[in-house]
Amino acid sequence: MLEEYGKEGPIRGIFLAEFHHIAGPKIMHQHPEGCISKEIFDAVSVFIIPKPQVLKRIVTFNVLGVKITGYPNEIRSPSYKRNALIFNLAFVCESSARTVHYEPAVKKLSEYLENLELEDGFLSSPSGRARIPALLRQVLVDLNKSGHCTVTITLGGGEGERRPSQLMRHNTTDGSTPPQRRLSLYSDQRPSEATFRGYRKSSVSEAKSRRRSSDSTTTSVLHLKVVRLWPDPLQVEDHHVPVLISERVYSRGDHWDLTTQQILPYIDGFSHVAKIAAAADVDNNLVKACVENLLYYEQVRLLPIFQYSNVYVVTSGIRHLYEDPELQEECRRTVSKHCASRPQLCQILEIYCSMTYGVSVRGLCIRYNPQVLNIDERRLVQFGLTNKLIRRLHQYPLLVPPEDPHHTPSKHNAIHALCSGQHNFDEICCRLGLTFKELSDIVERDPNIRVLWK
């Protein structure tokens, strides 16, 4: 679970603070001007330039009506006054906004600055400092506008007073090797841990730096992206049916990975995961992973398998169908069997309202004959489930051993093992390869099994 607070708000401002060797914590640059007032900064400077133990950690605080998220960073070197440069590049947001999704960007930016400083004295040299305001402005504008940002910084080069970088000094100390520029942006080299958390996050942080052929100027490129965080999707099971709820999947066909592309045509809203896997000739677990990914991006929704023996019950959501003209239109369009004529809404409503305990879809079909009413019952159920007008009633077989002490366990052990109240009929059918009828016959005949509907 993520912190769920407020909405995602834009970044109000970005500032760079440093520990000045005489004046203490100090705002060096900010954009826009006045995004953090002097009074507030003084009150919270202890969190912006904190004690050493809190350095190199994301620090977010929410006081005095602003929420500030920063990454206090430190470069230790005898070349600085007080032997260290402590700086913090922080984002200022509304106090009610979520900021957790900005944290990777803040951290990366801070580490990037650290490297630039080590390379080129970006933070300490006047020439570098002159470029910081533009950098801050670009990051702010781009991240707010498009959620990603590419910063290109030319190192050294034309700037006259280039001071030897920290790194070069390290290199030159150990011998007379000719000074050789090496880029050490380790965000480039590190197998970024974010990348492998899941392929959906692959674009989180991927810094690239490239070197121009000319040895005097070096360009460094930084990519920043704000990735929204959603709660983790549900666990996908064999018997779940993925239903596409967005057209976008197809419009961006080549956007998905190969496996997803392979299974997409088989997601027809009626086949369950195991069936899709068999049809697409893909491993079950891979299909599950792909569906999970699609779930995360809200492209599909999971529904239970449709069967005529299923029982659905109407929920309070049916009120929306009664009141919402848009939903009514959509419903009539979706459930109609032939495009030529639309089914009558009150018939649809009546069928939905008749879905109750003990009435299977088969029963409904016999009573109402939806074919004649131009209603496709499968689509009707699917529409009801996706719009939460109805819900599926699951059957949970339960093994209740009789009081009789001479009772001997019967031979249906495989089924009995699954009658613990945790597994519903769908699951058991899928696992044991039984049809619904076979299973319900077995359960019916067994006096020790009670069935719970919920």
Partner: protein, 615 residues
């Protein structure tokens, strides 16, 4: 989600700088480890060059085993002893994966009552901050609750400081213990916090608060044996209830706003136990309310009359009980109630519940009971007339038990007015609503000329929305019934008579509470009925209604006109009965007569089930 705190910390700031007074839980290993780290690096030690090429160590979590680790006392006190600008407001700080929340309070030394004898110097503490360390991933709702607790503790502490210098004296003890611990020889290492815990009352209070938060989620302590601080973490309390569903304050409060006079509450704990746990200065109104017998059978308006309270007061008291996880909201238990297995009911065979149930009701099996309720079952179905009253009583008790544990939900019947024509002729939409919108609105109820022998509760229905482009209803937003002013309700409640006759079901009486013998209809001119229908229905709807056979009977039509505002799916039968002061049989009869234009369906009442879970 785990909502337990990681740590509770108290920090002071004063003339001698900031200081961490106490933290709990503390662990000896960590303090030892920090001790070693604390040693000043000698100026002669070699500064080893860090290899820049190797990536830095990824930052490890600051949480280990549910405890806060990796922060020095000094670091924490530096962070929490905030500048005075930040005092007296919420303090929220997230470092790495730990979120700290507190409420720094400024103390005014001049207000401290210094004992006249003795020459003690006035207190030097100017700020105190009680901070909870939480996991950063915890829901914001929970964080706000912890802030509230911090504030309560802080204010109580400030009061005690002003009254009798409680904080100063405790701080003295704590600081002395810190000094003592540092002076001890290395091998006889004792954690200063252990010493503090042994000696300081405040430290024991904080430990108690931490333990209770991790335990039940309810904190009840008497600070300095003087001020009571009580706090409830609903997210935890409600999760430990049998329903085990997550709740948040927002959902709870929203649900409590939807309370209706015909609901009632069901205590989740034993009445005697609850009365015992009340503090001596609890509201006498609560005592009165809790002393009403069989409260699960009586709706709020009767309860209010019995306890001699206003309905608003009853709502507020019940709101408290629900928030603290002591009660839940139900429709009063009566023979016509239909119950069914709740979708959230745990069905695991070996659950603890089954054992508890067997202990409570020997000879009965929970699972058989649940299987029986897999299909909707009403209380009257359960209770055969052949059964002895004792058996019936037992069955009611079993149902109450199931309700208490959230295994059952009640189904209500909702009625929709859906004549074939209006729903389907696209061109009849919109245009017809106009008439409905401009008609004499709100004529329903208030101006009802029907002379009933019992005063009808005055119902102010919001007028149907006019000019609805294509909608087929005159809907009100769900849950939004600025219906009856509380006073009117109360009046109505007092005036409504009690159940006319106790049926043979004993206390499980029928819900037909009003005899309403004189719903004499038909005394009004037909015109007003038609007016009423015009104002509430669209043209097409009215047309279809008039085609129904029963519409020829003026009395039926009159009643239908009176009730059709409730046939939009927002009101269940019980609510209609309450609002229109009708018998169930009359209502069912009417619905049956107008069956061609009505659709009924059954689902639970969301307004009261809502706060048992959130989406």
């Amino acid at each position: 989600m785990d909502v337990d705190p990681l740590c509770i910390i108290i920090v002071k700031n004063g003339s001698r700088g900031d200081r961490l007074l106490f933290r709990y839980p503390y662990s000896d290993e960590v303090t030892l480890e920090t001790k070693i780290k604390d040693k000043r690096p000698t100026p002669y030690s070699l500064i080893t060059e860090e290899n820049i090429q190797t990536p830095p160590e990824p930052h490890t979590s600051n949480i280990s085993n549910g405890k806060l680790v990796g922060f020095h006392d000094k670091t924490l006190s530096n962070l929490f002893a905030v500048k005075s600008e930040l005092s007296d407001s919420k303090f929220e700080l997230k470092v790495n994966d730990v979120r700290f929340v507190g409420h720094p309070l400024r103390l005014n030394p001049t207000l401290v009552r210094v004992p006249t004898q003795g020459k003690r110097k006035p207190s030097t503490i100017i700020l105190v901050n009680i901070v909870f360390a939480l996991k950063a991933t915890i829901n914001h709702d929970v964080v706000n609750c912890y802030h509230d607790l911090s504030k309560r503790l802080g204010i109580a502490l400030r009061h005690e400081e002003y009254r009798c210098q409680f904080l100063s004296s405790q701080a003295k003890i704590m600081l002395a213990a810190h000094d003592e611990a540092t002076q001890l020889p290395e091998d006889g290492q004792v954690s200063p916090f252990q010493l503090i815990l042994d000696r300081s009352l405040l430290a024991q209070h904080l430990k108690q608060a931490y333990d209770e938060l991790c335990g039940s989620g309810i904190v009840q302590l008497r600070l300095n044996n003087w001020i009571e601080v009580s706090f409830c973490l609903p997210q935890k309390v409600h999760r430990s209830l049998a329903t085990g569903l997550p709740v948040d304050c927002e959902g709870l409060l929203k649900g409590l706003k939807a309370l209706k006079p015909y609901h009632t509450f069901l205590l989740l704990v034993e009445r005697a136990e609850l009365l015992h746990s009340l503090s001596p200065d609890a509201s006498p109104a609560l005592w009165r309310l809790l002393h009403v017998e069989e409260s699960h059978l009586t709706p709020f308006f009767t309860l209010a009359a019995d306890a001699d309270l206003t309905l608003t007061q009853v709502f507020m008291l019940v709101g408290h009980l629900v928030y603290w996880g002591k009660a839940t909201i139900i429709y009063p238990v009566c023979s016509t109630n239909v119950y069914v297995l709740s979708p959230h009911a745990p069905t695991v065979i070996n659950s603890q519940l089954a054992d508890t149930f067997r202990d409570e009701f020997p000879g009965a099996s929970l699972h058989v009971m649940l299987a029986d309720f897999s299909l909707p079952t009403s209380l009257s179905d359960k209770c055969h007339p052949i059964n002895s009253p004792i058996q019936q009583q037992e069955q009611v008790q079993q149902i109450l038990w199931l309700l208490k544990h959230g295994l059952l939900q009640q189904l209500h019947t909702y009625v929709y007015l859906a004549p074939t024509l209006t729903l389907d002729t696209d061109n009849s939409r919109g245009s017809s609503r106009e008439i409905g919108g401009t008609g004499p609105l709100g004529s329903h109820g208030t101006s009802s000329p029907a002379s009933t022998s019992i005063p009808t509760p005055t119902v102010h229905e919001p007028p149907p929305l006019s000019q609805e482009p294509a909608s087929l209803t005159s809907q009100q937003p769900p849950g939004h019934h600025p219906d009856i002013t509380q006073d009117a309700l109360h009046r109505a409640a007092v005036q409504l008579s009690h159940p006319a006759s106790e049926s043979d079901l004993g206390s499980v009486c029928s819900d037909e509470r009003s005899p309403s013998p004189g719903v004499t209809l038909g005394t009004t001119p037909e015109l007003s009925v038609h007016h009423q229908l015009d104002s509430l229905l669209s043209l097409a709807e009215k047309e279809m209604v008039m085609k129904v056979e029963a519409a020829q009977n003026p009395e039926d039509l009159k009643l239908f006109a009176k009730l059709c505002v409730y046939f939009r799916g927002h009101h269940h039968l019980e609510e209609i009965m309450y609002r229109a002061n009708l018998r169930r049989s009359t209502l069912l009869h009417l619905i049956e007569k107008f069956r061609p234009v009505l659709i009924t369906c059954q689902h639970p009442d969301d307004s009261i089930t809502l706060f048992s879970y959130t989406k």
